[in-house]
């Protein structure tokens, strides 16, 4: 299996990355090089192995810690928006969204 420029365009769009033409071709060959070393991994027999999503969950009994339902965050709109590119009357502005 080898990635084509069409695959690169599909992925770039999914990831919202505007790529320059030469970037497309460079990435295409670099990704194909990378997936070359991945082939070895695909060949490994992993039947019956439980995926490890959390590194310390070796015993498989790791449980999500829950917090009590308390609303305690103060309004920090100004501090939170200090690095926002475009704000008007407290709203983040973006180009018109058409549904």
């Amino acid at each position: 299996m080898s990635l084509t420029l069409a695959d690169i365009d599909r992925l770039a769009h999914l990831a919202r990355l505007g790529l320059q033409p030469e970037e497309r071709t460079r990435l295409c060959s670099q990704l194909n090089d990378f997936f070359g070393i991945v082939e070895k991994m695909r060949a490994v027999d992993t039947s019956g192995v439980v995926p490890l999503a959390h590194p310390v969950d070796v015993s498989g009994d790791m449980a999500l810690r829950l917090r009590d339902d308390v609303a305690s965050e103060p309004n920090q709109r100004d501090a939170n928006q200090q690095s926002a590119p475009a704000v008007e009357s407290g709203l983040f502005l973006v180009p018109k969204v058409i549904e």
Binding site: R16, L17, L27, T46, H54, P55, V58, P85, P95
Partner: protein, 498 residues
């Protein structure tokens, strides 16, 4: 303080003592290190300093020292990798995307080392000198992926300091700071520590809160200290670690611990596992020689070497470079030019704004990993890549548990070679990936690992020894490293002109 020793030659432990005994004030210490940072600006270690803030913190520390309410490391200067968000310094994560970004809050680790968590426990009282350079979003092994400028290795300024915590390692090696924080996702503390001849430790995943660390790969990222000695690392790590139930669901319910308590414990009878796979033909002879010598030294100290096997060591490269980019591709989606950070100047519509903003804001390596991550999670490929990688990740973790049946700690090289020339790997990202081979397995298994200087290789560049322990065995690792540093002086060597 004896006139012969300069402030910057003191270890964290010594500085803390001098400050407590008021031989030196926090303001004097801060001024001294700020001056050094300035006079060594050519190394490119710092991305942001703010003397007013630093000196204000130092004055507050002096006040606490005077009032007798001092923290464990009150007044000792420190610099943070620019992956940790800070209220008083800009936070860029080494990326154009966050150029000039100011966080409304401090990372938990920053608070714990500093004045303490607001409304929570008091901190260690350390004074922040500034923010340290790193690879963009901590993605890299040479610090050449910083969007601003590379970092030079103090031992040879034509060489890389390693990455991604290159600024941290270089700052400590050049004695621009007695200690620094770093983050380690696949080796980003251990490898630069090795390349710069300093000591660094990545604790067990979940030991230190990730709250306030700009996320790269959530299931791998861990914070840790870099300093000149294992003892200093123990002092900092004790302050950094501890549960953060209100902010990080993956922080472990393990109480904070004093990692200095057992530093001096006897290590005779210690079983050191030596994985055959870490000593294959990929390992450069100069590095191998230094590592072998270190293992001999351990035998002299009464430890026993046990041959072990970590059969999937090589697989850890594809496994890591699938899992980490997958998580990164999702973690970096929030950088869309809407709520914070860079937004493109020109765009046609919303979609174009996204694509231009992210194209301009992200560097090549980050784009590469976003593409890889997007691919391995995409429809039809998830099982073959991401899920398969998570399964082999489990096998790799199990391999370690097997190994720890036979040994107490595992020792081997940190990297196959010493620090290479800046630009040495050219445009070959794979070369960087492959060089991570010895640090990736412990990261995938969430195990604590550290690097300590054990000699020099080609070009008189430092070589580090990697120690890997089982979950929550940081005390043991630091003890094993400390005993070595009691018997040797590699950790005291300094780069020429420093």
């Amino acid at each position: 303080m004896t006139p012969s020793t300069e402030l910057h030659d003191l270890t964290v432990a010594e500085l803390a003592a001098h400050l407590r005994s008021r031989q030196v004030s926090a303001v004097e210490a801060a001024q001294h290190f700020l001056a050094r940072a300035q006079s060594h600006a050519h190394l490119g270690a710092f991305l942001d300093t703010n003397p007013e803030v630093t000196l204000a913190q130092a004055r507050a520390a002096d006040a606490r020292l005077a009032a007798g309410t001092a923290g464990a490391l009150e007044g000792v200067p420190l610099a943070h990798k620019d992956i940790f968000v800070t209220r008083d310094f800009a936070t860029t994560a080494g990326s154009k995307m966050l150029d000039g970004y100011h966080s409304p809050f401090d990372a938990t680790v920053v608070s714990r080392l500093g004045a303490g968590v607001a409304g929570g426990a008091p901190g260690a009282g350390m004074v922040t000198l500034g923010k340290l350079n790193c690879d963009e979003f901590a993605m890299g092994s040479a610090n050449e992926n910083s969007a601003f400028h590379p970092v030079k290795n103090p031992w040879n300024t034509t060489r890389t300091p390693g990455g991604s915590s290159g600024g941290s390692a270089a700052a400590v090696a050049a004695r621009l700071a007695p200690a620094a924080t770093g983050t380690d996702t696949g080796g980003s503390i251990r490898q630069p520590a090795s390349f710069c001849g300093v000591t660094g430790i990545k604790p067990t995943y979940g030991r230190a809160s990730r709250y306030g660390m700009v996320a790269f790969a959530s299931s791998l990222d861990q914070a840790g200290p870099l300093a000149r000695t294992a003892q200093d690392c123990a002092l900092l790590l004790s302050a950094m670690c501890g549960p953060d139930p209100d902010r990080d669901a993956t922080s472990l319910d393990v109480p904070a611990e004093d990692f200095t308590r057992t530093l001096d414990a006897d290590i005779s009878g210690l079983r050191i596992g030596v994985p055959a796979e870490f000593f294959g033909e990929g390992l450069a002879p100069d590095v191998r020689a230094a590592v072998d010598a270190a293992l001999k030294e351990y035998e002299a100290l009464g430890a026993r070497l046990v041959p072990i096997s970590l059969p999937r060591t090589e697989l850890s490269i594809p496994v890591y470079y699938i899992i980490a980019p997958a998580e990164a591709s999702s973690n970096l989606s929030r950088f869309d030019g809407v709520k914070f950070g860079h937004r493109a100047k020109n765009f046609k519509d919303l979609n174009d704004m996204y694509e231009q903003t992210r194209a301009e804001g992200f560097g090549d390596e980050v784009k590469r990993r976003i593409m890889i991550g997007t691919y391995v999670l995409s429809h039809g490929y998830y099982d073959a890549y991401y899920l398969q990688a998570q399964k082999i990740r489990r096998m790799i973790a199990d391999d370690f548990q097997q190994a720890f049946q036979q040994c107490d700690v595992i020792a081997g090289p940190v990297a196959p070679t010493v620090a290479w020339e800046l630009g040495g790997h050219g445009n070959d990202p794979l070369a960087d990936y492959l060089a991570d081979i010895f640090t990736l397995p412990a990261s995938l298994a969430g195990l604590p690992g550290m690097s300590l200087p054990v000699g020099f290789g080609a070009g008189n560049m430092p070589v580090g020894l990697q120690l890997i322990g089982n979950h929550l065995s940081e005390s043991r690792l630091l003890n094993v490293a400390h005993r070595f540093q009691q018997a040797t002086d590699w950790h005291t060597r300094r780069p020429q002109g420093i």
